[in-house]
Every structure is written in structure tokens, then in C-alpha cells.
């Protein structure tokens, strides 16, 4: 059976929007934590969850927790809603682009 799609959406965009925004927030959290661990000795020590890996272990673990929790909370809140995806996409892309830039060492070293 073959299908084509030119129909009104069957599902609301809420849960998709939650996943997109959470991915942007999670990525940004990782970049921000990486800078914090690099600039602050206290953060560096606090984020060394697994000594052989050093602060990278805490930076990524905390960022993943932020990502998953944000996704879960937004997902529950937006599950049956239709949200303004233009704003959500713009925010998520902005956070993602910022994340790429902030992890780039010459830019991260500006802080």
C-alpha cells in the first residue's frame, strides 16, 4: 500500500515542540556548564563525578539531566496543545547555534 500526505495534521505539534526546545536547552546547558567548569575551580571539582574522565563527566551528566527533565516537563505540559512552533524553533535553533559557538575554544576563552 502506498500513501501520500496532504491532509490536516492528526496530532498536535506540542510534544514535537517540547522535544525540539528541550534539545536546544540541553545543548546550551552543556555548553554553559563546560565554560563554567573551565573557568571556576570549584565547578571543575564539583563536576568531576568520575575522576578518570574529570569534569566532562559532570558537565555531560548534568546537561543530560537538564535536557531530559525539560523534555519531560514540556512534554507533559504541551502534549495535547498546539504551540507557536515558529517561536519554539527560533529559540531552539538560537540555543543550538550558541552551543556550537560556546564550545568552540577561541570563543569559550573569551569568558
Amino acid at each position: 500500500m502506498t500513501t501520500t500526505s496532504n491532509n490536516p495534521p492528526a496530532l498536535t505539534n506540542g510534544s514535537g515542540a517540547a522535544a525540539i526546545l528541550a534539545a536546544g536547552i540541553g545543548s546550551f546547558a552543556l555548553a554553559a556548564l563546560a565554560i563554567a567548569a573551565d573557568k571556576s575551580a570549584a565547578m571543575k571539582t564539583a563536576l568531576a563525578f568520575y575522576k578518570p574522565t574529570g569534569p566532562l563527566s559532570g558537565v555531560t551528566t548534568v546537561a543530560i539531566l537538564i535536557w531530559v527533565l525539560t523534555w519531560a516537563m514540556l512534554g507533559v505540559g504541551w502534549q495535547r496543545k498546539t504551540v507557536s512552533l515558529g517561536i519554539v524553533n527560533a529559540a531552539a535553533f538560537a540555543l543550538l547555534i550558541l552551543s556550537f559557538l560556546l564550545t568552540f575554544p577561541p570563543i569559550a576563552d573569551l569568558f
Binding site: M1, T2, T3, T4, S5, N6, N7, P8, P9, A10, L11, N13, S15, G16, A17, A19, I20, A22, A23, G26, S27, L30, A31, A34, Y50, P52, T53, G54, L56, S57, V59, T60, A63, I64, W67, L85, G86, V88, N89, A92, F93, L96, S99, F100, T103, F104, P105, P106, A108
Partner: protein, 189 residues
């Protein structure tokens, strides 16, 4: 012919999970674009099912790559040599930092790679989730589809940056050591 345990793990991380992920990206992006297009191009439930499995496999590969990188390879890479160590070949980070000609591979390459790589699994997990949830209905959500394609492309970019620097770092200061594994015994000719 033998390989050290650390070199084998590095191969599994980079040439196994990482390279396979990069190879899968082009196919994943193309199929996502094709199967969710609003054009009248027909698609079968089998093709949608295949892409769902394909994207979940990509997410698995991306997570396997970053987790083996961070928790298996990276500790060997950043290990601190005992005081007075002159031969730094078992301490790649220190080896790179000991020479002005190679320090950039660590200060730029590894410093960027170790963080940017994580955007790949985060992004592709989101892409896989949305395709699993919406399936063919995704073609009716133009903005959702655009975001999915953009994040899939970003995932590819993040993996490409990490893969490039991973390959170059392993060329400049390979991770090796540990028990030697005999792959085969050769004969002299």
C-alpha cells in the same frame, strides 16, 4: 599482527560507532527529507518502519560513540604521567602539550571535540522520537519537519567535527597501551 587493548577500543569508538554514525547520517537525512515531503511522492508503511528502525539505530550509535569516548578512551587520553616520565607516548594529552607544534590539537581539537560531540546524540534522539511519534503525519507539520531536518543536519555537523578531530588526534598522538591482542600470526616471505 597484534593490536593493543586501548587501540582496539579506540577503533571501536571511532571507526566502529563514530564512522558508522557518520555514514548513516547522509542516508538518514535523505530518507527523512524524502519520506516526510509534502509532495505526492508515494511511500509505503514498510519504508516508514525501516526509517524508524534506522533512526533508532543512529541514536544508539551516537550514544555509544560519546559514552565510549568519554568513559573508555578519554581517561587514557588525559591520564597524568608519574613525575619524571620522559616517554610520554602512553599519555597522549601530555605528549601533544609538550610540543608547540602539536599543542593546538589538544587545546582546540580535543577541547572542542569532547563537548561538541554530545550535540549529535541529543539531536538525533529528538529526531528519532519525533519521527516515531508522528510518522507520516510529519509531512503535515511543515515547521516540525523543518526543525527535525535542521537538527539532523546539526547532528551530522557535530559528529563530523568530533570525527575529524578524533582522527587527527589519534594520528598525532595515538591512544595505545594495555594488553596486546594477537589478531593473527604472520609468516615471513
Amino acid at each position: 599482527m597484534e593490536i593493543t587493548a586501548r587501540a582496539l577500543w579506540t577503533m571501536i569508538h571511532g571507526m566502529g560507532f563514530g564512522a558508522l554514525y557518520l555514514l548513516a547520517c547522509s542516508g538518514g537525512l535523505f530518507e527523512l527529507y524524502r519520506l516526510t515531503a509534502a509532495s505526492p511522492s508515494p511511500s509505503t508503511p514498510g519504508q516508514h518502519r525501516f526509517l524508524k528502525i534506522y533512526l533508532v539505530t543512529m541514536a544508539f550509535l551516537a550514544w555509544a560513540t560519546v559514552l565510549t569516548g568519554a568513559y573508555v578512551i578519554y581517561p587514557w587520553y588525559r591520564a597524568t604521567p608519574p613525575p619524571g616520565t620522559l616517554d610520554l607516548s602512553l599519555f597522549p594529552q601530555r605528549l601533544l602539550m609538550s610540543n608547540p607544534a602539536t599543542i593546538g590539537w589538544h587545546s582546540l581539537g580535543m577541547e572542542w571535540k569532547e563537548h561538541v560531540a554530545w550535540f549529535a546524540p541529543i539531536s538525533i534522539t529528538m529526531v528519532a522520537f519525533i519521527f516515531l511519534r508522528y510518522g507520516r503525519d510529519l509531512s503535515n507539520h511543515k515547521q516540525l519537519r523543518s526543525a527535525v531536518l535542521a537538527f539532523a543536519a546539526a547532528s551530522f555537523l557535530a559528529a563530523a567535527i568530533a570525527g575529524f578531530f578524533g582522527a587527527m588526534l589519534n594520528k598525532a598522538a595515538p591512544v595505545h597501551g594495555g594488553p596486546a591482542i594477537q589478531v593473527s600470526s604472520g609468516e615471513s616471505k
